[in-house]
């Protein structure tokens, strides 16, 4: 859709990601722009949240692709072949790492 804007967001994301690697901070799913794929690194939150998300397939190492992310409000992600809607708060509790090298682009 807005390929240019997405590219920009993606660059921003990668920069933050790189920075995170050096200063020990990481990036959450909420920062992943639409169309990009990343790897789940860690879930952070209560036990109820973790068990539910884990059952849906958000386990460390799983690939997640952002389908819709407008920066505010809920997001839609694709994980293990299904579309899951997550509240902004929930997306912020999923820590991700960028896929190694050039992330393969989806959609």
């Amino acid at each position: 859709m807005h390929a240019k804007k997405h590219f920009h967001l993606w660059e921003h994301f990668r920069r933050r990601e790189r920075k995170a690697a050096t200063d020990g901070r990481a990036v959450t799913l909420g920062a992943l722009p639409a169309g990009k794929t990343a790897t789940v690194a860690e879930l952070q939150g209560g036990r109820g949240f973790t068990t539910r998300m884990a059952a849906l397939g958000f386990t460390p190492g799983a690939q997640v692709t952002m389908i819709q992310n407008f920066g505010r409000g809920p997001v839609i992600v694709m994980v293990r072949g299904t579309r899951i809607a997550l509240g902004r708060g929930e997306a912020e509790h999923v820590w991700i790492s960028a896929n190694g090298g050039e992330a393969h682009e989806e959609s």
Partner: protein, 693 residues
């Protein structure tokens, strides 16, 4: 782990004996019963299979979380009675919400003879996650691989035989919505029951946590209550399952608990390791059986979602959809209703009066005014309801519901709720009872309570049908705007009440929004037809029972004791209420109508029809009502009628679901006060501006 066969046989059952394999004596005593449970993740087609096998009519639609209560039915096959249980969908056996607990408790406590795990072939990986949990419980499992057609459309290649070989379980490919593979499923269930399970491939906990698990099993050995398997309990404790952990804490001595607790604290990270291990197992099981297309295709679902889930366009779509539903319903349904009223009800009542002219007055009065005028009049709502249910059924079956919920998420946050609460509320447009029940899918108990409290403010079809009859009488062509205005008003009041209550009920608790968005499906005429049939029949039953009774009682009270309406018992009751009515310019008849709407909303019309028919000698509501009410009072009355306390069935369901008389009474009182306050406000405003007086 306990030996599987042994566990299966230890099921305390008087049944089974006659169907047992060669090992037991085969006694031909009566038909034999097998108990089969349908389990699976949400929205995979469990209820579709259930309906096909039992001929019953469970709610089917394309969104997760329709079935919220277990339901039993019988399928007879080759002289064997198969008792089938339809269960709510659940993503895992760690129960997070009420309806998931129902499923888990059923499998563990009721020990079905065979568990049919229904899986969606189009999202096999995630579906098999649940299988990996179910296989740890002692029951023979059959995997029903449903939605094979959808998987094909998505370009997924699934090989049932390969999967069967990997899992060591019978796998039956199916397309339940087209009745394909269901017969094979039954045969397989019977075979598994007779032959017992084969060498199933059970998932094991990952290497890194094997030792801890063994340690835990050791610690709790001997204290685990029947029917829980010890290693399953240990695993669930490691996964941080609150219910199971609480249960064990109560059964262990403080010293034992101390030890267990220490182990658990040390391995808090186990949740993700265990889940990850299960997904690794799934990968191994599906490696050969599943071929996934290259990523990067844009599917139809993605393309439609671009619009329907967009924060701006999605909202327009939702408003358009709601507007279209009511527009269709009223522009087609209302004229048919008016036609039926004129040529069926009024003509029928006339005919009865003439035919029974010689009989005692009360016989013709009872039949013409009480039965035909009351319950019969309500039956003229049928076209309105059928159209509405058809549109609602189509929306559900296409898969739009979850999108509407997603779009509404932002607004639901104002009430401290989130998008998922919108699913049951949407159902409320059909009827408030399933809306209150459906709130079970909301994970947090407090958020569920709040959802239940606002649910009666969704204008149900019964209320809107009353509006559809009354509005054209007073407002003619503007009736549709009045109807839309009333719907908008109800929803605005819903929002205000929700915002006002959320601090009180939720106390600032954050509720997680996690919801699956299903693939869009082509609407299935059969599914929609069944849901229309079921909902319509529910209405006809209501008209034939409770509404009929109320109509007759209202009629009797309107002629007792002197055969005159004006001196009747009902008039006395109505006059007692009339000071309240006077504030919005409505007479006692309207107040009585409102009162009877508590029993069932349609009674408003039944009562008015009975009461006004008595005096009006066959003149219809359309002629009599305008002589009683000004447009301003009529509008005020419609406002009260739409916001009034929920019907008895809804109140009873609210009590059942909240488990609290306090909250139920609170809701009733709130809506009573609110409805009159807004109604009177509207009337007084009209007086001030001089509109419609």
């Amino acid at each position: 782990m306990r030996n599987h066969d042994e566990a299966a046989r230890s099921v305390p059952s008087v049944l089974g004996a006659c169907c047992a394999d060669g090992s037991g004596p085969t006694q031909p005593v009566g038909p034999c019963t097998i108990r089969v449970a349908l389990v699976g993740q949400p929205n995979v087609g469990k209820s579709t299979v259930f309906n096909l096998l039992t001929g019953l009519n469970q709610h089917v639609g394309n969104w997760p979380g329709k079935t919220v209560e277990r339901k039993e039915g019988i399928h007879r096959c080759d002289g064997v009675d198969i008792q089938i249980v339809d269960l709510p969908g659940t993503y895992s056996l760690t129960a997070n919400s009420l309806e998931e607990r129902i499923t888990r408790d059923y499998i563990i406590h009721e020990r079905p003879d065979v568990v049919v795990m229904v899986a969606d072939a189009a999202s096999l990986e995630r579906n098999l996650y649940l299988l990996s949990e179910i296989l740890c419980l002692p029951a023979p499992v059959v995997l029903a691989l449903n939605m094979v057609d959808v998987a094909q459309q998505q370009g997924l290649g699934v090989e049932p035989h390969v999967l069967e070989a990997a899992l060591g379980l019978p796998v039956v490919p199916m397309v339940a919505s087209k009745n394909q593979g269901v017969r094979e499923l039954v045969d397989t269930v019977l075979r598994v029951y007779r032959e017992g399970p084969r060498g199933v491939c059970r998932p094991d906990i990952r290497e890194d946590h094997r030792e801890v698990l063994a340690e835990l099993v050791n610690l709790i050995a001997g204290s685990v209550p029947e029917p829980y398997p010890e290693d399953w309990v240990a695993l669930k404790m490691l996964e941080g399952d609150d219910e199971i952990t609480e249960m064990m804490r109560a059964r262990l001595t403080p010293e034992q608990w101390e030890q267990v607790h220490r182990v658990l604290m040390k391995h808090e990270d186990a949740i993700l390791a265990i889940a990850g291990g299960r997904y690794e197992w799934v990968r191994r099981m599906t490696r050969a059986a599943l071929t996934v297309p290259k990523a990067g295709q844009i599917t139809l679902t993605d393309r439609i979602d671009k619009v329907t889930t967009h924060p701006v366009w999605g909202l327009f779509v939702l408003l358009g959809v709601l507007g279209a539903i009511f527009w269709l319903t009223y522009t087609i349904g209302s004229p048919i209703q008016a036609f039926l009223d004129r040529y069926l009800i009024q003509a029928g009542a006339e005919w009865v009066r003439t035919a029974l002219a010689g009989a005692p007055w009360w016989i013709s009065g009872l039949l013409a005014d009480g039965v035909i005028g009351g319950a019969g009049m309500v039956l003229t709502f049928l076209p309105i309801l059928v159209i509405f249910f058809a549109v609602l059924g189509a929306l559900e079956d296409i898969g739009y519901m979850a999108r509407a919920a997603y779009v509404m998420d932002r607004f639901m946050h104002l009430m401290g709720l989130h998008g998922k609460s919108f699913l049951p509320l949407f159902l409320g447009f059909g009827c408030n009872v399933p809306a209150v029940m459906g709130a079970r899918i909301v994970d947090s108990p407090k958020a569920r309570l709040l959802t239940i409290l606002v649910a009666p403010l969704v204008p149900c079809t019964a209320r809107m049908a009353v509006v559809a009859v009354l509005a054209p009488i007073f407002f003619g062509a503007a009736a549709i705007w009045v109807s839309w205005g009333l719907i908008a008003l109800s929803l605005a009041v819903l929002a205000v009440v929700g915002i006002a209550l959320h601090e009180l009920v939720l106390g600032g608790e954050h509720v997680a929004f996690i919801m699956e968005l299903p693939l869009y499906h082509k609407p299935n005429a059969r599914t929609i037809g069944l849901s229309v049939w079921q909902r319509t029949m529910g209405f006809v039953r209501k008209a034939g029972t409770i509404i009929l009774i109320v109509s007759v009682v209202v009629w009797a009270l309107s002629v007792l004791p002197h055969g005159e309406v004006d001196t009747s018992i009902l008039a006395a009751v109505g006059r007692f209420l009339s000071p309240l009515g006077a504030l919005m310019g409505v007479g006692w008849q309207m107040m009585v109508a409102l009162l009877t709407s508590f029993v069932a909303k349609e009674n408003t019309i039944a009562t008015l029809s009975v009461l006004l028919g008595v005096g009006g000698e066959g003149a219809g509501l359309a002629q009599v009502l305008p002589t009683l009410l000004t447009p301003a009072s009529a509008l005020a009355f419609l406002v009260v009628q739409v916001l009034f306390i929920p019907c008895a069935a809804t109140v009873a369901t609210m009590r059942q679901e909240t488990g609290s008389w306090k909250w139920t009474a609170f809701s009733v009182a709130l809506l009573f006060i609110l409805s009159f306050a807004v109604g009177i406000g509207v009337y007084q405003l009209a007086l001030l501006t001089g509109w419609g007086v």
